[in-house]
Amino acid sequence: MPGPTETPGLIKSIIKPFTVTVRQMLKSTFGRPQTTLYPMERRELPPTYRGMNAVIWDLCIGCGICAEVCPNRCLKMKPETLDDDEQARAWYGSHLAKRKSKPERPAINFGHCMFCGFCEDYCPTGAMTMTDFYEMADTTREGLIYPARSLKVDMETLPQLPLINYMMESPVLYTDTCIGCRKCVDNCPTNCIIMDTGPQEREKRDGSKHNIPVPYFDYTICIGCSTCVKVCPVDCLHMEPISDSTSSGLQPAEAA
């Protein structure tokens, strides 16, 4: 049965392979072989390389999106105490001081990490970066758990990046169930919520009626982290795709 290319002659088919291997042998004996002597020589890594994570703490706002998008749940937000200098340098430092809860910073268990780069991609401030450091082997599992402070890096000049909503979602309010508790305002990492008078009237104990305050969202700086949804005690907030939400963010219950 003839093959797709014609079968070579006997002598040719015995000699031909040697021409390749012997040529290669001479080439790599007198030239430079393809392989690198690893510990002594290293290949150049592209700037996009996804190695060990590093967090620019001054940019981090502790929104927890990186923990949210981590497919392996190997990244967790851990409460950290910032000293005064760090507090002052933090981008949203003034706001952090206002927040009641402790600031949180990402800690990573590299034993579970698969270096997919989602935390870097979805970070709204660009604080989460991936370096070209990859020699992280350890003899214990615990050695691969990197606490938040060990991932901290400092930068001389901070890039002034706009806040980008990579999550493509924003919180939307059902005004009729909102109780005006201000938890969302206290916990919003970007300070994009303000409380103002809402449409809902409620009776006070003394009989007087007033409009209870409801949150208003500044969607230009909302990052879609859904912290407000999680802390809401009455489930009056839910996330909706950006294109569907109105600019005010105030959505009557009937329309929803």
Binding site: R73, K76, N109, H112, I145
Partner: protein, 151 residues
């Protein structure tokens, strides 16, 4: 043949309904379980769908749904998506292994992971899970544990 054309022709058959065109060269049709065997035979022999791409079993909570994807091996790439509804308590259907040899392991996989029984399959046993495995994991009511490691 145009996709719309043969979807219309097929939809006229017994037990077939909801013929529609999803996109270019791709049709969709729903068939009852009783009429499925005759329908598939016509599909293979009269309409020339010689390739069984995929058999997916879907757990709809109320019942099961089998989604067959058939195609023709030519440059047109005509494709037909056939939906068959199965009741939850008796998820059985006639096997199509004798029509398409490639459907063999797809049916075994649907049995393995979703618990659909194919009548007339030559060797219906688990393919991905071990033989003694209890339950069918892709069902929505399958109970499983999630291990979240604390650190």
């Amino acid at each position: 043949m145009e996709t719309g054309q043969f979807v219309q022709q097929l939809a006229k058959r017994d037990g077939a309904s909801d013929g529609s065109v999803l996109r270019a060269n791709v049709g969709r049709i729903t068939v009852t379980r009783a009429a499925s065997q005759a329908f598939f035979r016509v599909l293979k022999e009269d309409f020339g769908f010689d390739h069984c791409s995929l058999i997916s079993a879907v757990d709809n909570q109320t019942g099961f749904e089998l989604v067959y994807h058939f195609s023709i091996i030519d440059m047109e790439g005509q494709m037909l998506e056939v939906h068959v509804e199965l009741p939850r308590d008796t998820p059985t259907i006639d096997s199509i292994t004798h029509l398409w040899g490639g459907a063999d392991w797809h049916e075994r996989e649907a049995y393995d992971l979703m618990g659909i029984y194919f009548i007339g399959h030559p060797d219906l046993k688990r393919v991905l899970l071990p033989d003694g495995f209890a339950g069918h994991p892709l069902r929505k009511d399958y109970v499983y544990e999630i291990h979240e490691e604390e650190w």
